[in-house]
């Protein structure tokens, strides 16, 4: 009675337990590095050196 339901549960879980970390790692590996913060053009040499 409950056995087929438990097996379905197990199958769904196993697929997702593999898929979730895979998506996460792939997203981190393939992410585009953000450009460095832009220094305001009006900043003085002293402000930049800080």
């Amino acid at each position: 009675m409950i056995q087929p339901l438990r097996q379905t549960h197990l199958r769904i879980f196993l697929v997702l337990a593999v898929l979730v970390p895979l998506i996460f790692v792939l997203a981190l590996v393939k992410r585009r590095p953000l450009p460095p913060p832009v220094t305001p053009v009006h900043a003085t040499a002293t402000e930049v050196s800080r």
């Binding site: 009675m1 409950i2 056995q3 339901l5 769904i12 879980f13 997203a27």
Partner: protein
């Protein structure tokens, strides 16, 4: 539709549960927005609200998914399971507010319908950094809506427990969609390792707890029992079963709860008709087997809920041989009366013999 609507009865425990839940959410949102304003003063109020509600929903979903295996591993977590559905509905509401704000903020400024804009403004499905992650969040929200909308026992009765369970297992799909939504969205623009670490700790905990609970369950299913020529199976010794409690055994792939109470032994299916909870992890209270999940009750002799309730679980033929409990693995029709095995009578026979 076979089951009628019965309004939720707000008992003290439910009120306490919801009060703690609501204050926890408010406290989290205030802390999150306060910290955001402090660390990132340039962030707009809309951005802080979008992030606050989104992270609150994701955090609650992690907690909701951890409760099930935690209860299997330690019964002390059972009070959390009792009203887990309230946690699920709150997750949906927080997610909906997050989605609503995001839709207005990013898709309502043009001349297209915001929902059309959500699906058409960004279609770079082949690129990971530019993947339209908003669509994943929208799909997860649809699943959470279906679950929240059918969370009342009215739907459980009308859909039947197995169908309702199948529908609610979609929570795992929603979770995977949300991890992808966060990984392809927030983690692309906010590259702090701390944020990635929090997401990783969340899903690792959820997966590890499920695996630990599954391994514990497997021990029950792997137990080997010897069948006798008449089909009865020796499952355990009488003294292996604590008074007013059960021993769960797996016979032909189905779990049976063998209860000992008042010098008697009865066996019923381990599966509660309400939400398929494990009856064998419950106790005999007021002469009835009481499910540990939501307190549904059944008479141990016939597996029927006391009037006016109508739920019934299958019973199993049982007998005692010496000090051993033997159960026939073929289930009876739910609600069938089975004479309990009497421990006193067996002891008297032994003494006379």
């Amino acid at each position: 539709m076979s089951g009628g609507y019965r309004a939720i009865s707000w008992n003290a425990q439910k009120k306490r549960y919801d009060a703690i839940l609501a204050s926890g959410v408010v406290l989290y949102l205030l802390t999150f927005i306060g910290l955001c304003a402090l660390l990132n003063p340039d962030a707009t109020a809309e951005t802080m609200l979008i992030r606050g509600f989104g992270t609150a929903a994701f955090l609650l979903l992690n907690i909701a998914l951890a409760i099930g295996p935690l209860c299997r591993l330690d019964a002390r977590f059972l009070p959390l399971l009792y009203n887990r559905r309230h946690l699920g509905v709150t997750t949906f509401l927080l997610g909906m507010i997050h989605g609503g704000f995001a839709l207005v903020q990013f898709h309502a400024g043009g001349d297209r319908n915001p929902l059309v804009s959500l699906f058409t403004s960004d279609i770079q499905f082949g690129s990971i950094p530019d993947f339209p992650f908003q669509i994943l969040g929208f799909l997860a929200l649809i699943v959470l809506f279906l679950m929240a909308a059918t969370s009342h026992d009215f739907w459980l009765r009308n859909l039947t427990a197995p169908t309702w369970k199948r529908l609610h297992m979609l929570v795992y799909v929603a979770y995977a969609l949300l991890v992808a939504h966060v990984s392809l969205g927030a983690l692309q623009s906010e590259q702090s390792p701390a944020l990635a670490a929090v997401v990783a700790i969340g899903f690792t905990t959820v997966i590890a707890l499920h695996i630990a609970a599954a391994l514990r369950e497997r021990r029950i299913d792997r137990g080997k029992h010897i069948a006798m020529p008449d089909g009865f199976v020796d499952v355990c010794a009488v003294d292996d079963i604590p008074e007013k409690r059960a021993r769960i055994v797996s016979l032909h792939g189905e779990r049976v709860a063998v209860f000992r109470y008042d010098e008697k032994i009865s066996a019923v299916s381990n599966v509660c008709q309400h939400q398929n909870g494990p009856l064998g992890e419950g106790r005999i209270i007021d002469g009835c087997i009481t499910c540990p999940w939501h307190g549904f009750q059944y008479m141990p002799e016939n597996g029927a809920a006391p009037a006016p309730f109508t739920e019934k679980v299958p019973t199993f033929q049982i007998r005692l041989i010496e000090n051993r409990v033997c159960v026939h693995p073929r289930p009876n029709v739910p609600g069938t009366w089975v004479e309990p095995a009497c421990i006193k009578r067996r002891k008297a026979k032994q003494e006379a013999g």
